[in-house]
Subunit: 254 residues, 2 copies
């Protein structure tokens, strides 16, 4: 299955998303509880609709699927697709214009392609391991940390709260895949989530894209992150655009 | 000067904003430093352009103006317009789709009209003291705090960081006027900024709109907030949709 093939699958899914899911933006009905997901989170109506839409496109390919609401579908394929059908569903339901569709493709355990799509701005982020990161087809890179102190996305339940004193500004935008894509495009200098909360489905595509754009990505112990094929692991993620920022954050987390 | 008059002024400003400022969205050139504002902050090119555009519409009315970059223009009028030409300029320059235009009108010291405009969603929020809060002409109200714990916008430099453990989720979206409008439309349950940082220009319109939608608004000592006609005061703001949430936050700040 070539890259071109996966790009076409992604584009088909995006157009389905625009027609079927976007009409629910800001509509509280989208927030109706339909079930509890494998990781114990609430699955809202709009999460389910988005996942069903993607599964209908992917399952026919006979590949393995890891998705937030359904968990793991093992078709004994050499390809595995890790999906977050709606990254930022609270925002989407509440009408906060910050959410995305996130999808990563692996061949055996190697990532081969990743996309993040932001409907509000029609930004199509791609990560192609060994080739780079792209936004609407144009290459993107993390930025050099500006002279003023860095701007980071920061998620914490209290751990490492000192970090806010070492950065210029923090954002908690509510869609971590998209925030990782913003790191890749140079809108942020780091994405730090130390809640032991995000799942592989939340960060698979974002970490592939950010890494291809030059980001350094570790867990809160400074180790490489291993994206496992499940929807239940709870991870920390520290993704930054400089060694110096990585050192600062890791030292504040000790 | 009737309400209809001020609505027309606001709508003219919005259309200027769409044509002159929106093309700069996500364009780093908009971030060029042009001067230091009265409150000591950096005025970026896009801030200046947005302010010039608004001043060109308002100054001809002979009213007093309080605006972030220029400070106070006293024309000895009984009307004062408090403006934040671009609430969330970091987001705007970086391409993060969360920013707004914010304008509040006072007759002597009484607020008579307030608007917040969100270009990305074309949402036009209005607050008319004594009449209510409106979104694109439809009345809006704060929501009843959902059964799950509340979702709040939270800005802190370390103070009150325990608050994150008492809410379901926090957001730091980077445009406090717009976050106050989101409280008014029921997308958030509170907006808490305890950095002693926001200025009257940042929160004038948002507090008028949120209050008209039923929000409770205090400073971090639990006192009413007095919006003074200057662009330099540094304030705390706690705006919430329930007495219970207000008590919880104030107690955690003690």
């Amino acid at each position: 299955m070539k890259l071109k093939f996966w790009r076409e699958v992604a584009i088909d899914i995006i157009s389905d998303f625009e027609t079927t899911i976007m009409p629910f933006f800001g509509n509280p009905d989208g927030g109706k509880l339909v079930k509890i997901s494998p990781s114990g989170d609430e699955t809202k109506l709009v999460d389910k609709l988005a996942e069903d839409l993607i599964l209908s496109r992917i399952t026919e390919l006979g590949v393995n699927v890891v998705s937030e609401e359904v968990g793991v579908i093992d078709n004994e394929s050499e390809y595995t697709v890790i999906v977050d059908p709606l990254d930022g569903s609270y925002n989407f339901i509440a009408g906060i214009p910050f959410f995305a569709l996130s999808l990563a493709v692996f061949k055996k355990d190697k990532p081969i392609y990743a996309i993040i799509y932001e409907p509000m701005t029609e930004r199509f982020f791609e990560g192609i391991p060994g080739e780079g990161a792209f936004l609407n087809g144009k290459r993107i890179k993390v930025r050099k940390t500006p002279d003023e102190k860095p701007s980071i996305s920061f998620y914490s339940r209290g751990k490492g709260h000192e970090i806010v004193k070492h950065v210029k500004r923090t954002r908690t935008l509510g869609a971590i895949a998209l925030e990782l894509a913003y790191l890749a495009m140079g809108a942020l200098d780091g994405v730090v989530d130390v809640r032991k909360y995000v799942r592989p489905t939340d960060i698979a595509a974002g970490t592939i894209i950010a890494k291809e754009a030059g980001a350094l990505i570790k867990d809160s112990a400074g180790k490489d992150i291993d994206i496992s094929f499940n929807a239940t692991d709870r991870l920390d993620v520290i993704a930054v655009n400089s060694e110096e920022l990585l050192k600062t954050i890791l030292s504040l987390l000790e």
